[in-house]
């Protein structure tokens, strides 16, 4: 399923109150973009429009094609088929240096024999700029990333976070319209990761530049992106703002990948104009707030982990209530994660607040009733 975005929906859907100024550069359009490695298809005819000035995250498991897509936009991989357009100009045959893009590599790839200033000034030196001029420009960029006091240090003398800032400065020195980031936060420890995330977001908002950020962490994508592109096996599963990806996943893959969802399978037994009733394996019944025509069809739907309530009372089961067996209770600080065995789904995960748990602690191997609101079930 392609994630084709109609241009006029963009301001409403993706801005969240952010105006896109006129004449903003950095709109990135991928049309039927395909990549073969020998006989294997890594990217299958994807269509995507990234509006100018947006922070776009390509997210998915390993092998989904997100890095190949990024590298094709950058010019480091040859396009097998399809077009890449930045600001309506065809990029396919341009060298990376001639495109209005700049890439930040995963392990930063700073030149170990050059100090920070020379590292940042490298692309300018390759273009033949004079020393005074390129040092001046590089210094202003070092200021932007708050590294102006480190200009004479070598990369080996910097910490991971500092190296990343220099790599960022080096990428920005050529005034690109689109910044491409290849898993920039993977090499950092969790605490630093969160801090650098804030810095990236701040920088992007300050520069109003299009950022295309590849990551395998959905948490990162949700925190950073204005626009999340979930990819799987070379195709785009869903393109949306983070809130919609989490609240209204379109496919089973997205629901599983994004986490915090439980997937149920059941059969339609009756329907009316606004909802339908499904029957599971045992005597469980589910109400879905969508209209499905075909009776007897197998439907997959998901419920968020934090929208499920657990109770020890054993009454007759109403729709959207099921009996489950507690398998494990995990303490996570301000909330508790409970994994249960239930019908019609693989492991069910429920998340409840610490207070709720302490009111009536649930133990392992207890039988409890799980229930949720009709509106919290989403058809996939």
């Amino acid at each position: 399923m392609n994630g084709e975005i109609v241009s006029k929906l963009i301001p409403e859907l993706f801005c969240l109150g952010k105006e896109i100024p006129m004449n903003q550069t950095g709109e990135c359009k991928l049309q039927y973009l395909t990549k073969y490695y020998g006989d294997t298809v890594a990217v299958q005819q994807i269509n995507l429009t990234i509006p100018a000035g947006q922070y776009c995250c390509l997210v998915g498991p390993s092998g989904c094609g997100k890095t190949s897509t990024l590298r094709m936009i950058a010019g480091h991989e040859v396009v097998s088929d399809g077009e890449i357009l930045i600001d309506s100009l065809m990029m396919n045959n341009l060298e990376p240096a001639n495109r209005p893009t700049a890439m930040m590599f995963q392990d930063y790839a700073l030149f170990p024999h050059l100090n920070c200033l020379d590292n940042v000034a490298f692309s300018l030196k390759m273009r033949g700029m004079k020393k005074m001029e390129r040092y001046e420009k590089s210094r202003s960029l070092l200021e932007l990333v708050h590294m102006e006091n480190y200009e004479n240090r070598l990369p080996s003398q910097l910490s991971g976070g500092q190296q990343q800032r220099i790599a960022l400065a080096r990428a920005l020195v050529t005034n690109p319209s689109v910044l491409l980031l290849d898993e920039p936060l993977s090499a950092l420890d969790p605490f630093l990761r969160v801090r650098m995330r804030d810095e990236l977001k701040r920088l992007q908002q300050e520069l109003e530049m299009t950022f295309v950020h590849v990551t395998h962490s959905q948490e990162e994508a949700m925190a950073l992106a204005d626009m999340v592109v979930v990819m799987n096996l070379g195709v785009i599963e869903q393109v949306d703002v983070p809130q919609n990806i989490f609240n209204y996943p379109k496919t089973e893959f997205v629901a599983r990948f994004i986490g915090g969802h439980n997937i149920f399978t059941a059969e339609v037994i009756s329907n009316n104009n606004s909802n339908c009733t499904l029957k599971g394996n045992e005597n469980s019944h589910y109400l879905l707030p969508t209209k499905i025509d075909e009776l007897g069809s197998k439907i997959v739907f998901s419920v968020r982990s934090d929208k499920i309530r657990l109770s020890k009372k054993k009454n007759t089961l109403k729709p959207n209530e099921i009996l489950c067996l507690v398998r494990s209770v995990e303490y996570q600080g301000s909330w508790i994660k409970i994994v249960l065995d239930a019908e019609d789904t693989e492991e069910m995960t429920v998340v409840i607040s610490e207070d709720e748990y302490n009111a009536d602690p649930i133990k392992k191997s207890e039988e409890v009733t799980a229930s949720w609101n009709v509106l919290d079930a989403i058809k996939l």
């Binding site: 480091h76 240096a97 700049a102 590599f105 392990d107 790839a109 490298f122 692309s123 390759m126």
Partner: protein, 291 residues
């Protein structure tokens, strides 16, 4: 506590012994003997500067005419420089090809080992094998005459500067390939990608990224080649038809005449010259990060 200190001491003793016996002792002996006197038939333990004076006899006074010592050193340095330059160019190219153009690691190692095959033969045989190839009636001349390229055999193929340099390159290019290849292995491919992304042409990448990062390897290879060539007399002797002077030859001849103090003095001077060259090299390049 004391036990571990004795242990450490005992563990270091073999190396100290080898160092003292095979390095410090001979070197000190040479230095001491270089200050001895000698007559036609005996060595006279003494402390005299006679040997050093004779080496540099008339060297300053006779300028711009060069004395024997200066001429010999110039000749040897000439060889040293040309061999160094050519082994560097050839060695760098081969190492570059091995590292960046050969795809799999396996092939890299295989081809690398192929380069070392000549070393399975004795160095003397490898050297004199050039003689039937390059001589007046040798293979090369025969082929050229037969295909009509020339009428008379080329004289300067053998027993000339050409054959000496050729022989040196053949014998010692591997000493350049190994450290440079090692340096190149440490260059991450992502650095080349960054350079490409920044708009660097092939040549710019070479000059700005690869060569600076190979400097330690180049320095180590250069040290190998320079020290070997400066002290050599066998290769220069045989491939030069015993007609070409070299510092090593002077020492060799003096030893044959049992003039050990003179030979020792020449050896000390040679050592100082080579040390100066290496010192300059290490000032230019920091080798320590390679070790």
């Amino acid at each position: 506590m004391v036990n571990s200190k004795i242990n450490i001491f005992l563990q270091v003793i073999p190396l100290i012994f080898i160092f003292l016996f095979f390095f410090v002792a001979p070197l000190s002996l040479t230095l001491i003997v270089s200050f001895w006197d000698y007559s036609d038939y005996a060595l006279i333990p003494d402390f005299t500067f006679r040997n050093y004076k004779e080496i540099f006899e008339g060297c300053i006074i006779n300028l711009p005419d060069l004395c024997v010592t200066f001429k010999t050193y110039l000749s040897t340095l000439k060889f040293c420089f040309s061999v160094w330059l050519l082994t560097l160019l050839i060695g760098f190219t081969i190492a570059y090809f091995l590292r960046f153009h050969v795809k799999t690691m396996t092939m890299q190692i295989v081809l690398f080992l192929v380069c070392t095959i000549p070393f399975w033969t004795s160095i003397v045989i490898r050297m004199i094998a050039w003689i039937p190839l390059l001589g007046r009636n040798g293979l090369v001349n025969d082929i050229f005459i037969n295909i009509g390229l020339i009428d008379d055999p080329i004289e300067w193929l053998l027993y000339s500067d050409f054959s000496v340099i050729l022989s040196f390159i053949y014998l010692y290019t591997l000493f350049m390939i190994v450290p440079i290849f090692n340096s190149m292995l440490r260059i991450d491919e992502s650095l080349l990608e960054v350079a490409y992304d920044s708009g660097a042409s092939g040549f710019q990448t070479l000059a700005n990224v690869i060569i600076p990062l190979c400097k330690p390897g180049i320095a180590i290879g250069s040290i190998f080649v320079i020290t070997i060539v400066m002290g050599d007399f066998i290769t220069i002797g045989i491939m030069g038809g015993q007609q070409i002077a070299s510092v090593g030859k002077i020492i060799h001849v003096e030893m044959q005449y049992l003039q050990f103090p003179a030979a020792a003095a020449n050896a000390v001077i040679l050592l100082l010259v080579v040390l100066m060259i290496i010192y300059t090299l290490t000032r230019a390049v920091d080798i320590r990060k390679e070790l």
